[in-house]
Amino acid sequence: MIKTLAASIRDYLKPTIATPILVLCEVACEMTIPFVTANLIDTIKEGASVAQILPTAGVLVALAVVSLFFGAAAGITCSHASCGFAKNLRHDLFYRIQTFSFANIDAFSSSSLVTRLTTDITNVQQAFMLIIRIAVRAPLVLVFAFVMAYAMGGYISFVYLAMIPLLGIGLGLIIHKATPIFTRVFHKYDALNESVEENVTGMRVVKSYVREDYEKQKFATAAQDVCADFTRAEKLLAFNNPMMNFCVNGAFVVIIYLGSKLIITSQATAFDVGQLSSTFTYGFQILMSLMQLSMIFVMVTMAEESARRICEVLQAEPTIANPAEPVREVADGSIDFDHVSFKYSAHAERQALDDIDLHIASGETIGIIGGTGSAKSTLVNLIARLYDASEGTVRVGGVDVRDYDLDALRHQVAMVLQKNVLFSGTIADNLRWGDADATDEEIREAAHLACADEFVDGFPKGYDTWIEQGGSNVSGGQKQRLCIARALLRRPKVLILDDSTSAVDTKTDAKIRAGLASYLPDTTKLIIAQRVSSVQDADRIIVMEGGRIASIGTHEELLETSEIYRETFTSQNKMTEEAEAVEAAARELESADAEDPAVATAADGYALKGGEAHE
């Protein structure tokens, strides 16, 4: 784990190494100060003149200044090292995620990836800063202070030594007891915040079902549980400070007694007041460094969980990677599924796709239709190698998709995903995802083919209109058309529309399809749709059911052979036929130039306000 994380230090190796060295120098100066101070006190005690005091004072001032310099320098290098490390770590994590396959992304939910990139990194950064600075400083101070105390007070300083094992055992016990509670409570805390988030997003549901009190009750129970655990753990940690104080205070008391005895019995030859005073100062420093060490221990323990979660991502191997010698050219748009089966996870019981054998010629237009959960999307996802087939091979242009360079394959297989997303940026920015070098002319052409130009031109800023995060400021149908335009700019050999026109009206839908046929005549087109009208002109239509191809054929053939297709068709076309009949009737009416006044009245018994409907 440490090795994985340390790889992110890179260009900040210099400050990372410099910091402990500077800290070492700082501590060395700092530790000599009480030594010199003892001299100073002695000089004063002997009733020396100011002139005699000055040289010692000068040394002291110099030491303080040098120590200040090293301390400040260490602070600066430390901030560079820790923030740089965090930056690199965040960078590595983000870049690693970019190499992930869809299966990897499914394995980590997107919200957990966000947490790992933010909170977890912050925790690790804090721990890193502590480690290179305080964790170096504290033991150094401890050792220096003890050595100095020994130099000053001789055997008296062993009093300090005696309390170290005492403290060690105490600290060990506290941490041993507190850590499991912390690990547990952090999970509960995450769950608590998740439930708040659910409430924030689902507030309409909560209010509609009048569940405010129920939610309050639920939250209070969970929050109190979290609080009880946190309190238990922190109450344990609260032993820390008093225990330290107890040890050091005890040492002080013993030293005062022994020190006084030594001074008096030796008539201040073996030990004097100045030395006694310095022994206390060193004792104080020993105490501080022990406190810092225990604090670091706790913080690092807490950050360990974060570090583990980060490493999980860094060490996750992308399940889909480029082959050693990839094919970079996609010959044509032919697609072959040779007895392909697919499972989303190795231990899933059900095959998502079951023995698919399908051959599509380059340039063909294929419609795919089927109920919710019939694996339509799964089928097309294999073509762009968003997932790898569990069994069998998928070939594009006659070559196994696993042999292609991923970028080359995906450049030629353009997908408009079902759950589509626009990103914050202008409309033009979003469309250029398809082709970064597209000219304004090309962008307009693609938008025109996707029937997006009609509304984009209506925006005051046209193609420079700013799209909010997630495309929240355009409607569903507008979003879909922009997404189609984005894919068209790619001029791919295979174009897959995964239920991409569901929010677009039938007429526009037809217009888009006609545009595709003329703009990309040689491109193999796969169209997944709910509406039969979206696929009925396709060369062949695939009917999916439960992960299998139920039937395949032209519209006419399927009407004969496939019951599912027929049902879907009739359920949708009853109304279309009716509409046509009504339209014909209306046309007649119109030709007769008759306007039926009865239409304006409502069906129900309540009277309508007459004029309103015609406003």
Binding site: S79, N199, A238, I264, A268, L417, S475, T601
Partner: protein, 638 residues
């Protein structure tokens, strides 16, 4: 920033601090003062240690030349024993306050969390429509976290500092005013430096929070669209965007940490310099035999100067410690301010007094009367203020809106003179482009928002008179965006009616056509749903949401694009279930798929907040207007 603005901000900060402290006291009126007393006692004891050192030194100075330990021993022992006792008391009080501070901190945070959550539940939908989810969430995460640090560490630390500085100052004055003045001069320097470095540090820490927000926003956007990024091979561009933001974050966080890091060595060594100055001053005073000025009236001697030096250390160390809390305090106060903003939000008002009760028909009088049993018959209990009588009106589901005007903001009206009449058991459909006002109308019926002008009557009662919770209980709502809660599938269905048995839930699921896919889930109805049911498809989630409404069994329903993601074949199945469910219930339907609205009793076409057509499907087709054009595909519903 201009001076008055800074002053106002400062005033607000101190107001926040006072309010926070008051709140903490109200949470723990007994424990918190006790904890504070413990902190004070501890501080006091820590600072009087040097007095005992001083008296020990006094004993030493009188007997070291003689070397007579046996004479000095009892005195020293007495000092040591007293000191030991005091230390033990100090340690016990330290143990006490540290442990109970944990209780106070965590308990206060928990109470604050609950307060926030309870207030949030009572806020009107408007709050959730106008505030970003991430902003609301950060109250529970970031703001609470900053407060934790501030309450548990900064506040006791500040308190302790005040007491230590106070007593040390007193002791110093007790010994020597002149020496004390020297130290105070040094302290002024320290405070000045702390202020300078600390304010820079705080400024960059706040900037760091801001940049962190930017990076988080970007990360969230990319992670949520990661599949699109992959499908378009857009990884490199996403990485470049990320690097740019990451670099900016580095810039400010490096500076913030730098100022925070150098503060400690600067103060510590300044402390050392002060130490030297004090030592020098002591030496000079001693050498020149300056007459001492002190409370004790004792002359300046080595026995005074040495403990003075120790006190200097203590004094400076304490200031150094407080300086470490500056960032915590600044960020904690900013967090507290945001939390108070949420707590101060105006809750949803409800003056309704008409309630929904279970009713039964009195077999003798044939009149409705209230009962505690679930009879399946509901009535509005309507107390009349004028004459003090109570009448019972059967719940029928008759909804009328007359001449309603409404705007989400006062200056922008989105509904103009809308009138809708729904007889009990009717299905009323709304059709129109996005932004035409369809959802707005349903928001008004269940009073998520209140109308500006006109009236809405439910079974002849003004909806403003109906208690909101009862009004909403009588209206089931199924929305396009389904929100599920962490829990089993069964729990989620039962959300509609907490008293429903498993059988009732399964029956509702069957009715909604959800039983089929649920039984294919790994653990059927006991499958845990997490992350808003992310393991289900949008269509499956919609089926669950319909089942949830079905188990609630409300007399009236609002279906807002409830079946938009369900394929037409499944929808036909769901439709049959829904038709059975909706038998005899008033239903409001919003759908862009016209097959969903076709069999409605009334179809209302909306455009820019006005009703432009209404009638049955056949009537509207014959009319050959807006609906007819939609239906024949002449334009789309956008």
């Amino acid at each position: 920033m201009s001076k008055p603005a800074t002053a106002r901000k400062g005033a607000r900060r101190s107001g926040t601090l006072v309010r926070l402290i008051k709140l903490l006291f109200s949470f723990y009126p007994v424990l918190l003062p006790l904890v504070m007393a413990g902190v004070l006692l501890c501080g006091l004891i820590n600072s009087i240690g040097s007095v005992f050192l001083q008296s020990a030194l006094q004993v030493i100075s009188t007997s070291w030349q003689t070397g007579d330990w046996s004479a000095a021993q009892p005195k020293i022992l007495q000092i040591v024993l007293t000191l030991g006792t005091i230390y033990i008391i100090g340690n016990l009080s330290s143990l006490f306050w540290n442990r109970y501070m944990a209780v106070v901190t965590q308990g206060s945070l928990e109470k604050l969390r609950e307060k926030m959550f309870n207030r949030m539940q009572d806020l009107p939908i408007r709050y959730f429509d106008t505030n970003q989810r991430g902003d609301i969430m950060s109250h529970y995460t970031n703001d609470i976290d900053t407060l934790r640090q501030m309450i548990s560490q900064s506040l006791p630390n500040l308190l302790q500092t005040i007491i230590v500085l106070g007593t040390v100052l007193f002791i110093m004055l007790y010994f020597s005013v002149w020496m004390c003045l020297v130290i105070i001069a040094g302290i002024v320097c320290m405070v000045f430096l702390t202020k300078m470095l600390g304010s820079n540090s705080a400024r960059f820490f706040l900037a760091q929070q801001r940049e962190l927000g930017v990076v988080e926003g970007h990360i969230e956007e990319v992670m949520n669209g990661q599949k699109v990024v992959k499908a378009f091979c857009h990884e490199a561009a996403a990485e470049a965007d990320f690097d740019e933001r990451n670099e900016r974050l580095f810039e400010v966080s490096q500076k913030a940490n730098m100022y925070a890091n150098i503060l400690m060595p600067v103060l510590m060594n300044l402390g050392n310099l002060i130490y030297v100055v004090v030592a020098l001053a002591g030496g000079i005073f001693l050498a020149l035999n300056v007459p001492n000025l002190s409370i004790s009236g004792m002359p300046l001697s080595i026995a005074v100067v040495v403990p003075f030096l120790n006190m200097t250390k203590q004094f400076c160390g304490q200031i150094g410690q407080v300086s470490q809390q500056i960032n915590a305090v600044v960020m904690g106060l900013a967090g507290a301010e945001r939390i108070f903003d949420l707590l101060d939000e105006e809750p949803e008002a409800d003056e309704g007094y008409v309630t929904l009760v279970n009713a039964r028909v009195n077999p003798k009088t044939w009149e409705l009367e209230e009962t505690d049993e679930r009879t399946g018959l509901w009535a509005w209990k309507h107390p009349h203020r004028a004459d003090g009588t109570v009448t019972y009106e059967p719940l029928r589901g008759d909804v009328r809106m007359v001449d309603v005007d409404f705007g989400y903001t006062p200056d922008h009206e989105v509904l103009h003179g809308v009138s809708v009449y729904a007889k009990p058991g009717q299905k009323v459909a709304f059709v129109g482009a996005t932004g035409a006002g369809k959802t707005t109308i349903t928001n008004l019926i269940n009073r998520f928002y209140d109308i500006a002008d006109g009236k809405i009557r439910y079974d002849g009662i003004n909806v403003n008179k109906i208690r909101k919770s009862d009004l909403r209980r009588s209206l089931g709502v199924v929305l396009q965006d389904v929100n599920l809660f962490t829990g089993t599938v069964m729990d989620n269905i039962r959300y509609g009616n907490l008293d429903a048995t498993d059988e009732e839930c399964i029956k509702a699921a069957k009715l909604a056509g959800a039983d089929d896919f649920i039984s294919r889930l790994p653990e059927g109805y006991d499958t845990m749903l997490t992350g808003n049911g992310s393991q289900l498809s949008q269509g499956q989630r919609q089926l669950l949401s319909i089942a949830r409404a079905a188990v609630a069994d409300p007399p009236a329903m609002i279906l807002d694009e409830a079946t938009s993601s369900i394929d037409t074949r499944t929808e036909a199945i769901v439709q049959r279930g829904m038709d059975a469910l909706m038998q005899g219930r008033t239903t409001f339907v919003i759908a862009h798929r016209l097959s969903t609205v076709r069999n409605s009793d009334v179809i209302i076409c909306l455009d820019h907040g006005r009703i432009i057509e209404r009638g049955t499907h056949d009537e509207l087709i014959a009319k050959k207007g807006y609906y007819y054009q939609l239906y024949t595909g002449a334009f789309e519903l956008e």
